[in-house]
Amino acid sequence: MGRYILWRLIQLIPIVIGITFVTFAIANLVPGSPLSDLAFQRGIRPEDIARIRHQLGLDQPIYIRYFQWLSNIARGDLGISLVTYQPVSKLIMEKLPNTLLLTGTSLLLALLVSIPIGVFAAVKRNSWFDQITTVGAVAGFAVPTFWLGLMLIIVFSVKFREWGLPSLPPGGMYDLRSGGGIGDRIIHLIMPAFTLAFVQTAGWTRYIRSQMLEVLRQDYMRIAEAKGLPQRLVIFRHGFRNAILPLVTLLGLDLPGLFSGAVITETIFSWNGLGRLIVDSTFKRDYTVIMDTVLFISILTVLANLLADIVYAQLDPRVRFD
């Protein structure tokens, strides 16, 4: 086991290096510059811009900048933002809890909804409930996050307000004027968490249903039933626990989806997390912030996958590492 983990960690090194390369290339090949705001402004001379460009190291050849960045992050120095000059590590740590709050809540929401629906749909296979779930899941897959988010805002924030009904805040994490109590924060969390949870719920319902169907066909299920165990016990003790196993892997694999969904959801709902940080930095061409944040999320994802594999081994004695 220990050897396996070590081996997997060593395998991560080329993956992470590959990620740094792709991240750097994508961030830097986009036309533009973090200094383009300065250009074409009265009172600012080309020599001023050239000087600041030099101070930020942007006048270096691109491959030197890449290795410079690599050696800095290898030493744990994430550098400073090219736009606000704040340390990037501070920015990431400021935003990370907000993103975790949003993704965590939506994950929980998605699980709470999809597990019972999935199990029930499998048990009552081909019933009207199952049919509706199938249609709902397909629809859920097809709905783009940004569209759903905007629709929710239009209905529950804009229209409800126009109709004089209690409405939900269209964005932000808390009310700036009042300073935001816990209730206020929960109200602000509802729509973004729901939006992010929606697509996941659709996927997981289908997944749990198919897993459950597979398990229901197993011999041990028939045996349990033959022994005269109550239906509930058969389904939950023997069936569900076996069906749920692969979900652990799925959770690990789903993490990137959760973060990429957060990029869109956070932008739509002005949620002050890592996703919005990436989007804002991209439009400002704040290379260091883009690269560091994307790298941070990538490493988080890779580690989560590893963790999922390990946990899976712990849960399922059939899985062996050699």
Binding site: F40, Y85, P87
Partner: protein
Amino acid sequence: MEQGNQMQQFLRGPLTRRQMLRQALALGVGVSGAALLAACGGGGNATPTAAPAQATQAPAQQASPTTGGTSMGSPTAAATAGVTPSAAATATGQKFTIEPAKHKGGTLIEGSFVDAKTLNPVLVSDTASSAVSSLIFEGIVFVDPQTVLPQGKLAEKWDISSDGITYTFTLRQGITWQDGQPLTANDVKFTYDMLMNKDTKSPRTAELTERIKSVDVVDDRTIKFTLNAPAAPFLVSNTVYGIIPQHILKDVQPANLAQDPFSTGQKGRTIGTGPFMFEEWVKDDHITLVKNPKYWQGEPNLDRYIYKVVPDSNVVAQQLKTGEIDYGGIDPSQVQDIKSQPNLNVVVYDTFSFTFYSYQLDPQKTTLFQEKEVRQALLYALDREAMIKSIRLGYGRVAVGTMPVLSWAYNPDAIKLKYEYNPDKAKQLLDQAGWTPGPDGIRQKNGKRLSFTVYTNAGNKIREQYVAVFQEQWKKIGVECKPQTEEWNAFLNRITGSKDFEMFLVGFVWDVDPDQSTMWKSSAYEGGFNMNKYSNPQVDQLLDEAIKTTDVQKRKELYTQMQNIIMEDLPNAILDFPQAIAVVNKRVHNLFPNAVDDRFNAHQWWVES
């Protein structure tokens, strides 16, 4: 001026005029805001610094022009609420009526879709940063939006030597930093040392070192600036930057100034002399300031000021409607919707920004525009009033001369060539110059067709529509124009770097001071904004003379002469001066959106409870 690569712009199209204006204005002036088209009140010069409660009860909000959709129709008559479009529309004579606060406390939330970059006034180069920074920090001088003339802020008075070389400022007595330390002339010197230090990321080093020879402390309250040459714009352009505290920053390496917590925001360290103190900055979300109870002009009425950042301009408009935002700029297309809201005031005001297209005059690049008749004919063929009406929805003014309406140098009656729409005159001029219609309908001369490409930056909807109008209207006089859009940075490189163009269309922002050397002087071809190699010794001479002249009336005459030569030569065609639109919630009082400085009386802002 737009930043072509901003996310927000990508999401929503061009920046609002207020944004573009504030952005660029902030650079040169160091104050945010923009000028007003406000009440055409009497000529009284209520100095807000001196008279905080000089209040007649005249409803200031009512006096400022709420936008009347139909009355905006004709740009020359665009001035609403009684502002006459000609000389009387210059800023001189406009007046804000400050009413006494009926309520103390509360929070004012200003909304924008662009976050600040830094709080340090030495480094500020954009409007958003300036908007916040100028509430914390103050300059020795500010430009009074009512007169567009310099007024003392930290300085109580100043003397200018007769040769125009030395400026000696006396600081007001008893001004303290927000931590209680006294402000001294050493702080002023320290600030200018930082501004002119090449190791800091100050974006103004080149201009300031060229202009200022030395800054010397005479005594605690007296500071002397020695210039390299007389420069009339010095006061309004270069003495308005916020002063930073030496006692906080003396040990910071200049190279580290930008990343110091002072610049990125730290409670207790980011301190100035202004009406508001730094509290917190949650990046891309909001910046909170709290009142400075010991402010030297009196305790501010508000408890807190919040600069709120939202994803795009539609959200700004939306949150203005719901009252989540009290103050913010909007686009012309949003006015109709906002106007129907009973809780909001819409304020339209003139700005210093303008749209222009430029003819390539360097014969090595193209010889098409060497004849003055061709350049003039093309401008005669454009119906600029109609363009403003349909594309800018009426929010702009046709340029008469080169000066903005707000400038004291604006002198439309003395401008000889106004280029009112006249396609027949355009054809006549082209005929005169020997350009005759060829077999394909396009004019030609000596076998050369009058056909060229006009570049503009992609993503700016207004400019894209403008070049489409060029194509259509010039075709009617037998001229072929091919519009071409480019990504902002590539476009910028083309017009300022390689200068490989026949014609381009872009926007720019004039300084509060009417010196326009940066565009018209032949020496501005290198390092300035004379991108088309225009050169006229007479213009050079007039500009040089004007910059040495401190007498306003004399300068105005010189600039009028210059404008008439420019309008005759027409190296660039200044099409129009767009107006900006601000929205203020009716619960907010004493806040006057304008293009010069909307924060001059921030301590007097108050909100109803």
